[in-house]
């Protein structure tokens, strides 16, 4: 079959403009979504205050953990659930007919998620300082923990969103999120779990992120092992997402 017309090609919009346009679009829709605000800001802040009071005013121990929770929530809700519904509504399929390429879309999602994560971590840091947080920061450790942790959860989120139906993504992402927070070495430290179980759970990305955040923000240590673990989880998820992601 041949489809032909005059060969007058207009110039195209630069990739940077396309990525920035789509990132702004994602942020606009996400920040309007009440559920998103609840999961990203309200729940972590309530958790911060509740844990701090439950643990005798020890905000120093809680702030890094709550930041890990918020980072996980941002990736899971904005990426997994958001992208799952974009697939179902056919929006992704339509976007594939526009100049926005797949790479543009992924980069834009990364930018939007990174910005949301930064805003949410900044909000938690601010409230923690008001509650008396005195962090001992290892700056490269903290930045790498946030970046690699975000990357690992983002890649898992994209894998889920690309492989399953939107409703299944919603249920599974929320389920995994809650299980990981409670039993994944986040709120309950792996050191407080029985030996072999704790050792296994410490390998989970949630535990690695929580302990990397705690080390780099409370003790000023560089969490090398946990960062390697997060990198490994990110690599596995990126590989799976690449293989299974479909746009419709």
């Amino acid at each position: 079959m041949t489809v032909s017309a005059s060969p007058t090609a207009p110039a195209s919009v630069s990739a940077a403009h396309r990525v920035s346009a789509h990132a702004r679009w994602e942020l606009r829709l996400l920040l309007r979504n009440g559920e998103q605000i609840l999961v990203m800001f309200v729940i972590p802040l309530v958790l911060l205050i509740a844990l701090t009071f439950a643990r005798g005013g020890d905000v120093d121990g809680q702030a890094p953990i709550v930041m890990a929770v918020s980072l996980m929530a941002t990736c899971v809700t904005s990426l997994a659930i958001g992208t799952g519904f974009e697939r179902r509504s056919g929006a992704l399929k339509f976007l594939a007919t526009t100049p926005l390429s797949r790479l543009d879309l992924l980069l834009a999602k990364a930018v939007a998620t990174a910005l949301l994560s930064a805003i949410s971590i900044a909000a938690i840091a601010l409230v923690s300082v008001l509650l008396g947080w005195r962090p001992v920061v290892n700056i490269p450790g903290a930045i790498l923990a946030i970046a690699l942790g975000g990357l690992a959860f983002a890649a898992w989120a994209v894998f889920l969103a690309g492989a399953l139906r939107a409703e299944a993504v919603l249920a599974l992402a929320n389920g995994i999120f809650i299980v990981l927070i409670v039993f994944g070495g986040v709120v309950i430290a792996t050191s407080a779990m029985p030996g072999p179980i704790g050792a296994i759970i410490a390998l989970l990305p949630s535990a690695a992120l929580a302990s990397a955040m705690t080390a780099s923000l409370s003790t000023g240590a560089f969490p090398g092992t946990q960062l390697l673990l997060l990198l490994g989880w990110a690599a596995i998820a990126a590989f799976l997402a690449r293989r299974t992601f479909t746009w419709d």
Partner: protein
Amino acid sequence: MMAAVGAVTALLGPNGAGKSSTIEVVAGLRAAAGGSVRLLGCDPADPAVKPRIGVMLQQGGLYPTARPLEWLQYLARLYPRHADPSELLELVGIDPATRTTTRRLSGGEQQRVKLAAALLPEPEFLILDEPTAGLDPLARRNLLEAIGRRRDNGTSILLTTHQLDDVENLADHVVVIAAGRVVAAGTLDELTGAHDAVSFGAPMHLDTAPLALSLGVDYRVEEPMPGRYLVHGAPTPRVMAGVTAWCSDHGVMAEGLIVGRASLEQIVIDAADAQSRAEEIQ
């Protein structure tokens, strides 16, 4: 199959014939299972072609939580050249100032927002999958007029539809596909003229040889499906007399007699029959 420049090409065929698949291949959404597709002289997957086409998908293609105007304003940032989003919404009959999100719009309104999104890049090639599905008569007429104006401005248009009067009103070229293959293609006149015939229903498996003999070499008689008879050739009074005489000899009535040019509907129904027969053979 060709879709000509500055013309409306309608892709018709029964359900499952492969219309939407063809649209998706042309829109660069999936690779062709065989053969080759060139769009504006490029591969449909070529990024350089994306700013020059506008696509309206049959299913979905909108953000449920977005408002129509902000959706078009976002899309406009992706295109080097585009129409004004507000004017475009007015053109398709959507209030640009509406605060209603897409999911709360009616089906017909969503359909019109999708058309506006396809028209936004002022495309050289417009691809529309079932653009008039689910529209009330007035909305449908407005949409067809909008498509017609684009064609008059030199836009090439490929569309699929089940509404055959859309095709009769708008299409310059018609392509009928069944079971993934082109079964008929041409202008509307060529297609319906090629089906010059008299067709009628009667009990199945009657002997057609005497009828063919009485009509002579210019005519051909067949029973394309049991109980449906076709006499190919110019319909004249002599043909009618021959058919009546033959029916009388068999003691049967000719039912559902269609004289003259076949309707587009009959062509698509024939394609559907051909498709289901092909499926039975498989």
